[in-house]
């Protein structure tokens, strides 16, 4: 165990410190893990490789999990991958179970993080070989599978799907980017919009606009009545609010499944983080014995979402360390840290840098535990955010949203205006009766769906490629079919139930 000599107190302090800063970044709406890593990247030059990696991996783990806090308490996803956490987390917070919800999230995050770290450690090279079996066709099918959640998520299937399609449409505005292999031409806009919208709307400002700003507009419309964020948001105290590990009873399959889904999606370069939690959420909704409460405040939704998005961390490191290809935007920044130190990442990274590899694993696992202890014991205090009177809280939320939106693409003013545009749009959508969650999922996955779909057809020239490409494609089709069938059944069942209630 040669590498043990490389670990010292500073190493662990840095990993822990990274996790703490990461959590703070993640907890501020608009600040992401990617930003945390990018901001601290220059520090690593002074720190040296091992210490630098400890800090960055801490930031990565902390940043991804910190996103749960605003998602649960304020209904604003702190990072795009915590979008599905809002579906059940916020309803729970409204029922006065915010603290309980956060605890469930933290435990799920830890398990997700550790499972993915184990998978990374044991199977990285093997899985890298598997991941390159996924070409555009299979990736399109994965996105399609994630999109099927729209059907089961919406309260009215027709409206939900329509909202989802609007989301996809919105995501297509801008250029068909040459960095994805498109032809770089803009569409769905007028010429005068081009200076602002050339690259389309960015994801994060859209998310915080549609969740954060529109919530504030809805409150303002009602006159910002009560002093507290929500008088029903009580912390602790309530009978059902008591947290105990028994929540996880019978949820083990969900926990493990979601962790594997997260790891797996993280592993596929380009598919991206948000798809992981959406996919895990879909699968829980489809496969659980009773998923009727999901979306209304069920811990199982939180478990699926949070274990999947933390499992991303290990997953996204797989292609980075065994192919030299980043699995998500944060690991793309990590590549910078390696090149700064003169280390190449590629298929031979692990065999050639065994010590660094062990150091990274240690930092990753340690950061997960630090994240767990920091969050688990700080939750009591963090959850008190909802006790801050609205007239103090709202302006601060707006201010932080502005900072996040401006900073996400390293200083673009239009991203701040995007907040307002989507704040108003989000307000109108909810007023008109369209559904926000499907719309946003459509928006997140839309542009990837386009690239994978068009590129598959471009090279194959026939639609049949989607069915005949590989056995993997076949399996994915089965999953898609099952998912669609399931949501149809659910909708019929609930319609029958409603009719019965009307009659009775």
């Amino acid at each position: 165990m040669e590498f043990l000599s490389l670990l010292d107190i500073t190493f662990f302090l840095l990993a822990g410190f990274g996790a703490l800063i990461g959590i703070i970044f993640g907890a501020i709406p608009g600040m992401t893990a990617t930003m945390a890593v990018a901001v601290c990247l220059p520090l690593t030059y002074a720190l040296g490789l091992n210490h630098g990696l400890a800090l960055l991996l801490g930031l990565y783990v902390g940043g991804i999990s910190g996103g749960m806090v605003p998602a649960v308490l304020l209904n604003i996803p702190g990072t795009p991958s915590s979008i599905t956490t809002t579906f059940d987390g916020y309803p729970m917070a409204q029922k006065g179970e915010g603290e309980k919800a956060l605890r469930v999230c933290v435990i799920a995050s830890l398990v997700g993080g550790l499972i993915s770290a184990a998978v990374l450690f044991l199977f990285a090279p093997l899985l890298a070989d598997f991941s390159i079996k996924f070409s555009y066709v299979e990736k399109f099918l994965i996105i399609l599978l994630a999109l099927t959640v729209i059907a089961s998520l919406s309260s009215n299937m027709l409206i939900g799907i329509f909202s989802g399609v609007i989301g996809i449409w919105l995501s297509l505005i801008g250029d068909y980017s040459i960095s994805d292999g498109g032809n770089g031409k803009t569409r769905l806009m007028f010429d005068f919009m081009e200076p602002f919208l050339f690259e389309g709307f960015s994801l994060l400002p859209v998310l915080i606009g549609i969740f954060g700003i529109s919530t504030i507009l809805l409150e303002a419309e009602k006159g910002v009545k009560s002093g507290l964020t929500n008088e029903r948001v009580r912390i602790g105290k309530g009978v059902s609010a008591n947290f105990s590990l028994s929540i996880f009873k019978g949820r083990l399959t969900n926990l493990v499944r979601s962790s594997f889904i997260g790891t797996f999606v993280g592993m596929l370069p380009g598919v991206g983080g948000s798809a992981a939690s959406v996919l895990a959420y879909t699968q829980e909704k489809n496969l659980a014995k009773d998923s009727s409460q999901m979306g209304k405040g069920a811990p199982q939704g939180l478990i699926a979402s949070e274990s999947a998005n933390n499992a991303l961390t290990g997953g996204a490191l797989i292609p980075l360390l065994s192919l030299g290809i980043p699995g998500d935007s944060t690991t793309a920044v990590l590549i910078g840290a390696f090149t700064l130190q003169g280390i190449q990442v590629g298929p031979l990274f692990i065999p050639e840098n065994t010590e660094t590899w062990y150091v990274m694993m240690t930092a990753l696992v340690f950061a997960n535990f630090v994240m767990f202890f920091l969050m688990f014991y700080a939750i009591k205090y963090i959850a008190k955010v909802v006790l801050v009177p609205k007239h103090i809280l709202f302006p601060i939320i707006v201010m932080m949203c502005v900072v996040g939106a401006y900073a996400i693409n390293y200083g673009i003013m239009f991203d701040v205006w995007t907040l307002l545009i989507f704040g108003i749009l989000g307000y109108l959508i909810q007023k008109v009766g369209l559904e926000v969650a499907p719309l946003i999922i459509g928006f997140i996955l839309g542009s990837q769906a386009e690239i994978y779909f068009v590129k598959s057809l471009e090279s194959a020239g026939t639609l049949s490629i989607f069915f005949t490409k590989s056995p993997i494609a076949g399996v994915l089709w089965l999953l898609i079919l099952a998912s669609v069938m399931f949501s149809l059944m659910m909708s019929l069942k609930s319609r029958a139930k409603r009719r019965q209630e009307l009659l009775g």
């Binding site: 910078g336 298929p347 693409n409």
Partner: protein
């Protein structure tokens, strides 16, 4: 105990006025010099890529030398040009590479003629890594095999990212086929795709016979055993011979400089007609707002000249596999214009 609306509005406007007047004083200082906080926008959105890395090496040194607060922001090409357009005070500078004019030559939306619209500043470094690779078990041993195969009517698919640095080598190759085997150039087919991951994937899937890549990102793949699906082989580095000759002797990873030189001209010959060989070095340079004070242009030229004279920056650049390449703005502008004109001919002739 409520406070009247009037007091309240008064308070608000006082705060606003105070903030406005407080700042107005700072904005004026002597002319012709950089001042205040400087932001260097780059044409890439990645903070892990070569543009960011190279820019931060240069900008850090420059900030230290000029004792200014400078920062690199990875805003991407379209936003970077727009930000630069709006600021002629010298608080916004830009660093980018050959993509800035190649995008225009290829007619990509959002790119304008940089020699018209901006002031071209000094060059700072070269990334010598632009490469073309084939699968390790490919029937094509050399680039000549590929040219010959296309000349014989075989379809050769090349995975590239369209509209710039990644495409220029492809265009040159097509041009060479057109010269050596007239009429056969359409046998070289572009597979338009995105990131390096996508290009590699095209090779793994058998959707491409050749891919554009880089020494940095693909070197390890070239060392995999032949039976590995992921194994690749270099066939061509587009850099000039004397560029690679300046690389550290140990090369990159386990591929030495000597080995790299095998894939460069004159060993690999891509004709441009008239005995000329095509080469392409990816060069990083500054771009300034057209109306920026010439004093600032001179100031940065001077500062960089001093930094390069010290010799420390070259070491940092070489460690990161960049080739130091400082040319003051006048020289750089002329040189790049000439470079652009050569590539313009190629792109025109294969249209």
């Amino acid at each position: 105990m409520t406070i009247s609306k009037k007091t309240f509005i008064g308070l608000g406007s006082v705060a606003m006025m105070a903030s406005l007047t407080f700042g107005a004083g700072i904005a004026q200082a002597q002319d012709g010099q950089l001042r205040g906080n400087i932001r260097v926008v780059i044409g890439s959105t990645s903070t892990g890529g070569d543009t960011y890395q190279n820019s931060s090496i240069v900008v850090d040194k420059l900030a230290e030398h000029l004792d200014l607060n400078m920062k690199v922001d990875a805003v991407g090409a379209s936003s970077a040009f727009r930000t630069l357009d709006r600021d002629s005070r010298g608080n916004t500078l830009m660093i980018f590479h050959d993509q800035s004019y190649l995008g225009h030559l290829y007619g990509v939306q959002g790119y304008s003629d940089i020699f018209e619209e901006y002031t071209v500043g000094p060059t700072v470094a070269i990334n010598p890594g632009n490469a073309y690779l084939v699968p390790k078990n490919s029937p094509y041993e050399t680039l000549d095999d590929i040219i010959a195969a296309a000349g014989n009517g075989e379809t050769v698919r090349v995975a590239i990212q369209p509209g710039g640095v990644s495409e220029i080598g492809f265009s040159a190759l097509k041009n060479a086929i057109a010269i050596e085997h007239p009429g056969m150039e359409d046998n070289l087919v572009a597979v338009n795709t995105g990131s390096q991951a996508d290009k590699n994937q095209q090779l793994f899937d058998g959707q491409a016979d050749v891919i554009n890549g880089t020494v940095q990102a693909n070197e390890q793949f070239t060392r995999l055993p032949e039976d590995d699906q992921k194994a690749m082989r270099f066939v061509w580095l587009t850099a000039r011979q004397d560029t690679i000759e300046q690389a550290p002797e140990e090369g990159l990873g386990q591929t030495s400089r000597e080995q790299l030189l095998e894939y460069v001209e004159p060993n690999v010959h891509v004709t441009m007609g008239d005995d000329e060989t095509f080469t392409f070095d990816k060069e990083f340079f500054f771009l300034y707002n057209k109306d920026m004070d010439p004093g600032i242009v001179a100031q940065i030229d001077e500062a960089l000249a001093e930094i390069y004279a010290e010799g420390e920056i070259q070491e940092v650049q070489k460690n990161a596999f960049f080739i130091p390449n400082f040319k003051p703005s006048g020289e750089a502008s002329e040189y790049l214009y000439e470079k652009m004109s050569r590539y313009e001919e190629i792109i025109e002739s294969i249209k």
